[in-house]
Each structure stands twice: as structure tokens, then as C-alpha cells.
Subunit: 144 residues, 2 copies
DNA sequence: CTGCAAGTTAAAGTCAGGTTTAACTCAATG
DNA sequence: CATTGAGTTAAACCTGACTTTAACTTGCAG
């Protein structure tokens, strides 16, 4: 038993079948096919899914995740070292986001209570463009 | 000039007119009306909008923001103290999210590189349900 | 009073990240 | 070899957070 069907893979990865098909369509993961066109997942794909879900928790979009995964070696199955490199890069990313959140935390009281009624001048805005890019707003967070 | 028209208010708050109308429809902000049915915003509303945008940056949904704003005094314009109470509560929220992110950061390398191919058993999952609730996935982040 | 920018509404459109459905095929068990 | 459960696809649908559009109305300058 070297590969997994979509049902088993869904169970092991903790991601629904429909999400797995969606990820495949979006180029985030791949699966071999049987003669009867059914998906067979290599166990190594579990790591990709793990990475995807973790990155999502950090607030990264699937598009960015796709780009990151695209940096893994194309021909061979990624080694532990390949994954470590990727993880290291995201570690940095995560640190940046943590620092931004700390700044938000430290400035929240002061900013709400202070005289800066215009968000355009407030330090909380503009300074944090990088965070804003991943904010909840569909398109622009700080649009006019 | 005690109140602002939607154009000026949009400019001062840094939020588009359409978003302001949307926020009003969703019960996040309010505006008085002129005889001709045009919106007139009290300056105090700028603080609400500031709060909304900051909370969004922290990854909170409009629904939760609406609930938080609903705790402000109904009759009178919120005082600095009212805002401070609200901010203090969100400060706590923010700290929780920061701690979760730090855990993610600390465990990322280990988890990706380790043998825990099943996310269901991985410490990164399940433990962080609260963060997951605000994750990028529309409905459930850790659904089966 | 004309003209025109700015305002109003409801309804439709957009985008991300999926889920659900319909119609059909595969695999394997009795 | 019939049935049944798992798999397949494309396409429609969903939520959140807005934007855009269409069809009018207001407000004010000239």
C-alpha cells in the first residue's frame, strides 16, 4: 500500500475530499490516477497538505501558498531538507506578522483614545501595509 | 460644521463610500439624515470606523466587530473611557492571537520535518481551535 | 432655472475558499 | 452479474466583505 485513495487521504490529512479536489485544481497538490481515473495520493503529499493548512492558519492566501510550494524541487519528492528550507522562510514570515501584531497591540489603546481621528494619519495605518495585504478585505484594505 | 457628508467622511476615515454604506446596512455605524435623505456623520463615528479597521487587521470578522461595538453605550456618544474598555478587551484578544502565532512559529519546523504526517494528531491542529475560527477558510478550517 | 457633481437605493457582480449537486463510472462483495 | 459504496466531473451554490451599476434625487453655482 504505497498510495492512498482520496477517502483515506482526506481522513489522514484532515481535509475534506472536496477541498482536496479543489486544491488539485488550483495546483497546490497532485495525485496519480489509476486506470479507472481515480486519484492515488503519494504519502509525501500529506506534507504538502500539512504545509497548506498551517500556512492558512497564519493568514496566508492559497495563491501565496501555491507560489511557495512551487519552489520545491520539481522532479523528485521533496526531502526533509527541502521542507526545512521552506519552513525556515515561513518562520521569518511568521515573525514579521507577530511583530506587526505586537505593534498593533501596543498602539491600540493609545490610538483609539487619542486625537488621531483620521486613520490616514494614524501610525496604525500605512505603516502596516504588509499586514494589510493579508487582511480580511477582499481587495484593498485601505482604499479611498 | 458639526457633521460630515459621506464624501468628507470617506476621505477622513480612509474608507470608501460604498464600504461606509455597507457598514451602515450591517449595523456597524450610523448616520443622521438631512431633509433630503443624505447622510450626515457625527465626528464620533470616525472612532467607530477606526476601531472597525483595526479589528479587521487583527483578523476579526465584521460580525464580531458588530457585537463588540454593540456593547458601547446606546444613548450617549461613547467617552474616551468607553473606548478604552473596549480596547482593553481587544488587547487581550490580540495577546491570545499573538501567543498562538508564537506557538505556530515554534512548532513549524519540527512539525513539518517530523513524522507526524497526519495533521489530526499533530499538535499544531486541534490545539488551536480558537485561531482556526478566524482563519481564512469560509466555514470550517479543520473540517473532516 | 439650468447644469452638474455628489448623493440615494436596490440589486447584481466580484473574489476567495470552498461545498453541494447531478449525472455518471469503478471496484469489489455476495 | 447485480448492487452498492466510493469515486469522477462540471457547474451551481455559499459566505464574507465589499464594489459596481442603473436609475433617480439633492444641492448648489452661475
Amino acid at each position: 500500500m504505497e498510495t492512498l485513495g482520496i477517502g483515506d487521504f482526506a481522513a489522514r490529512s484532515g481535509v475534506s475530499r472536496s477541498a482536496l479536489r479543489f486544491y488539485e485544481k488550483e495546483g497546490l497538490i497532485r495525485a496519480a490516477r489509476t486506470g479507472g481515473n481515480q486519484r492515488r495520493y503519494a504519502r509525501a503529499e500529506l506534507r504538502r497538505v500539512a504545509f497548506i493548512r498551517i500556512a492558512q492558519q497564519v493568514g496566508v492566501s492559497l495563491e501565496e501558498i501555491r507560489a511557495a510550494l512551487a519552489t520545491l524541487p520539481a522532479g523528485r519528492t521533496p526531502t526533509k531538507a527541502d521542507w526545512s528550507r521552506l519552513s525556515a522562510r515561513w518562520h521569518t514570515r511568521l515573525e514579521e506578522r507577530i511583530r506587526l501584531m505586537e505593534r498593533l497591540r501596543d498602539q491600540l489603546d493609545g490610538c483609539i483614545g487619542c486625537g488621531c481621528l483620521s486613520l490616514q494619519r494614524c501610525r496604525l495605518m500605512n505603516q502596516d501595509d504588509r499586514l494589510a495585504q493579508h487582511g480580511p478585505g477582499p481587495r484593498r484594505l485601505l482604499d479611498g
